[in-house]
Symmetry: C2
Subunit: 343 residues, 2 copies
Amino acid sequence: MQEEPVDRAATLAEIAQEAGVSAPTVSKVLNGRADVAPATRERVEDLLHRYGYRRRRGNRQTSPLLELVFHELESAWAVEVIRGVENAVRDEGLSIVLSESAERHGPGQSWVDGVLARRPTGVVLVLSDLDRSLREQLARRDIPFVVLDPAGDPGQEVPAVGTTNWDGGLAATRHLLDLGHRRIGLLGGPARMMCSRARADGYRAALDMAGIPYDPRLVREGDFHHESGRLLGLELLRLPERPTAVFAGNDLQALGLYEAARELGLRIPEDLSVVGFDDLPLARWVGPPLTTVRQPLTEMAETATRLVIDLARGVRPGTLRVDLATSLVVRSSTAAPRAQPAA
Amino acid sequence: MQEEPVDRAATLAEIAQEAGVSAPTVSKVLNGRADVAPATRERVEDLLHRYGYRRRRGNRQTSPLLELVFHELESAWAVEVIRGVENAVRDEGLSIVLSESAERHGPGQSWVDGVLARRPTGVVLVLSDLDRSLREQLARRDIPFVVLDPAGDPGQEVPAVGTTNWDGGLAATRHLLDLGHRRIGLLGGPARMMCSRARADGYRAALDMAGIPYDPRLVREGDFHHESGRLLGLELLRLPERPTAVFAGNDLQALGLYEAARELGLRIPEDLSVVGFDDLPLARWVGPPLTTVRQPLTEMAETATRLVIDLARGVRPGTLRVDLATSLVVRSSTAAPRAQPAA
């Protein structure tokens, strides 16, 4: 994938001459100093790369920093992820640099310029896509990265840690079927995100295997936030034939559904069973405690961080894609439907 | 406060000789490189300081990094704080370095060594105490710091951003008194933390002004976590004469109290009124939505970050201690006590 380095050593002075800059500027780029213009840095980095300066791992000039990038920090599960990264970096003597790429779905050029200046050991991207050009810039500088729970399809060559979303959707829906529910709604996450799609497909597969036809009237697409859970929950619960149970795309949407049920005077689980996804700490604390699919966020973040540290050391893992298992946690928000559910 | 620098310029070579190291080593220290032994760095830094090298602000060699240190990342409010810091650094082109000082109540020497090597623009400490020696090391290197919501008494000379905890405790308790409650419990936070003490004193002052004697049997000291809310909540609710209302030290303890009430078959607010403190997002999502004292965590974190950036620029604010106002948010967990509360 990488262009072959020219097979001879060049001095800093030669590289400086070819780049049209001073030798101290080349030295600054080598030392990862911030006070170099991005275009200059890129030109010098390219020459350093061509002349094989930065080829030997271990000799590479890196900072003891691990970059952690969130698409958005609003989400309640950010802390679970940060804790996992913190667990993994603690013994390695690395510190976490945290950033947010809120505006778009992935971080942009100004973020990459900052990373190149900082020369971190590696990058963990949470639910963020790096476009191809940015990805290549990191690769050219030997900065490894791993995507945690990818929102899009990162491709086979991108190291990624996820969870078994499809199995989780299947387990959640089967649990409701086993309790006797037949009219089961889905309050899913955004369809553009792979994790939402996989959960929805698991839901569909469970219905299918139970011989229950998929009914699009019982399905809504939310945005993983509390408010969409409430609004779309109200839609589902106001249907002439409302569902007796709903699989929510995540815990926050499940809590929005709780609120919708309260507004309509429906009791959980007597009038409505609810299953979430994530198992955030708050799932245990709400009333009634939420039955949910546990996604091991902290362990996933630890795994992603260890993977990126391995890659930084030149250790090539057997597989670049790891999915950790989900598990169903049954609490008090699910029960058998009443004999004659209200229409 | 600072030792006067010697009034003449010294060359790097002279400093190197005096420190017993090579000139490139002095240069590394000046450039904030990581590959210098802490003891050597300290010796060189001291000499640089004596010879006035690092006196001119603006010329100081700093990284565009803002250090954010949590005592512990478990707490659900960490995200609110991180968002505030992120808001404040975004336009400044700074990145956040996140660390946790979980073991002790404040970060130790190895953390300071890392900070000195990174040479950040400034440090925001969340609920962490820096001991005197560490504080002096930061001051000697001109690295400004601000304490957010100090757990101990940071002293007049320490820049700090807090909230009006006493006023919040007063407002919470007055709200319960206004509803007609007379047997009001306190499920407070750790007494060693200033914020807990101030909230408890506000509770006491409100009772006092209403002519109700302070009853230590109705008071418990928790640790700000859900589980202590549940366990101490069970103690309070099992008293022969149980309180008809409880002011919980924070939202998580309030939710623990919710669970204790559920276990004992007590309804909120019919049988028990509950007031929290913090106004985390989840306070809106629980059932019933929690009446709580809003602490503007995101704004506090923004203020602390802006203060530290000002200090880094040599701007001396009029006051080093800022408290942002709390406000009572009334939701559905509080109501008048029943005419004849169960004994």
